[in-house]
Amino acid sequence: MGRKMKDVLAKSIIYLATGITLCVLLFIVGFIFVKGISLVNWDFLTRDYNEKVFYAFVQEEVVPMTIDAASLSQKDPYDKRYESSLEGPIYIENIGAAVSKVAYKNNATEKEQFVFSYIEKDSPLLSATDSTGKKLSIGTDYILESINGTDFEGLSLEDVAAQINHETGELKIKVVQPGGGVRSNIITTLYMVLVSLLIALPLGIFGAIYLTEYAKPGRLVNIIRFAAECLAGIPSIIFGLFGMAFFVVALKFQISLLSGSLTVAIILLPVIIRSTEEALKTVPTAFREGSLALGATKLQTIFKVVLPCAVPGIATAVLLSIGRVVGESAALLFTAGTVAQIPGTLFSPGSTLTVQAYYVAKEEGNIELACAIGIVIIVIVIVLNILSRITSDKLNVFNKK
């Protein structure tokens, strides 16, 4: 084989490898988007994952319909992912809203139910309250289950309409807010990022300061570096197990935001120490000498001169950390739990987006939903990336001229 042939062969292998890598990447991202994008909408982002059942108290009041029948029948706000139209809509005057009967599908089960498909602007439903007088919001595609104790199950849409029109005075309506959203997971993820950074950043930065500014080079420093390096290489499931054994069980923090954050903070430490150390090392000695020669103490020098110079590097650490927290699932599964709720306190559980994606894919076999969550994760990572890049540019002392 001639030299030229070999050359061509080598070249084509290189191109092929690059091409394959690129294709795989595009395929994955494309796959996630194609599978999930139809599910991503405002409701998906703003609703909780679980349905919420509540009783609404509404003052009956006759409100005439302001749109014509044709445009009413166009209204089908219910979620086509799960629901298909059966009957209606029928406008019900004394609550100023239209109701439809739909079939709700979830995997194999199918259930008939009544949903609000249109609500008038003056509808008394919009000023509904709970039993304590707190205002409630009722929207289209909320499910209607009973009124003043009369359950709607098995009734036809006409019967339901007649039943509602028949009631007077204060109405007690059982309403279900549909679930399927990821609001709580988004908020849990942000909490997790915040709390774990609050724990890991100071520790990591002070650790890095010790290593670069104080520690005499020698055995101890090498051991610490080696330990940090090893920590970085351990798979996160191991940290998850440790977190469960130590934070959850031994320290009795329960499966909670705190346990999860602490576990993730341990995972973040090596990253933060490493990047901060690199950043501190690039700060010119001339600045340190200049500061010390002016009679500043070592501590003043570090905090007033060296650290501000290292901000871009520390920002990189924060960036990597955010990516890591948002992407972490194995370590959180055992420590923060799979409950899709907003953790009310540090000691309540909550599932982040990645854990939720795992959960819906595994427990419910709902790949589309997992992909939709995937899209949200990708977007969040990109947004946080841009944000921290902007702030690091703003804080970069060398950029100001």
Binding site: F287, E289, A293, L294, V397, K400
Partner: protein
Amino acid sequence: MNKKIKFNTKNLDLYYGDFQALKSINLEIYEKEVTAFIGPSGCGKSTFLRCLNRMNDLIDSVKIEGEIIFEGQDINGDIDVINLRTRVGMVFQKPNPFPMSIYENIAYGPKCQGVKDKTQLDTLVKESLVKAALWEEVKDRLNKSALGLSGGQQQRLCIARAIAMQPEVILMDEPTSALDPIATAKIEDLMSKLKKDYTIIIVTHSMQQAGRISDKTAFFLMGEVVEFNETPVIFTNPADKRTEDYITGRFG
């Protein structure tokens, strides 16, 4: 002339690990004069200068023997290093303004000493900049980053920064070696003005510069002070053959 001695060293030896960089240095530095250190590179000028404000503390391998007496006190003994450095300021070879505003650069030292009063800081900043002949050039951009200044301006800023500490001595390690001739001239000008108020010790590789600005000159060679005398004497009538060789450019 009956000037006071500011610094004197007695049999000062300095080692970097096993390497002896300074050999039995005996020097007197007089108050409110410019003392220049000349000599080929690597002969220990910077090392000696950095002994005077204990900057060599930063280097772990350094070992010092002998005495450095500053105002009657051995500074290698049990003294307050911070206090020493506020009294003995330093300007480095490469201008090293901090990446902060011009104002903050000057106010940095006083703030580290606990000066908080805004008006006091304002006057200090202005006075220092005026003394460093930089005020006119920067008075409208005090809050701009010092990194936007030219090299010569940056070096004068570093001098102003040192002056803001109201030191007694200013050490300068080849302060003009990174600057162009015009900026150099400005700094030399400045030094002749500053010597009214401060004791100035300058390391320079330029004999012309030493001749122009200094009152006394010490010639260093391989860690030793070969000759120390009034500058005109060193340049016109050196006692040592090696000094003469160096002055006349026969080596170095």
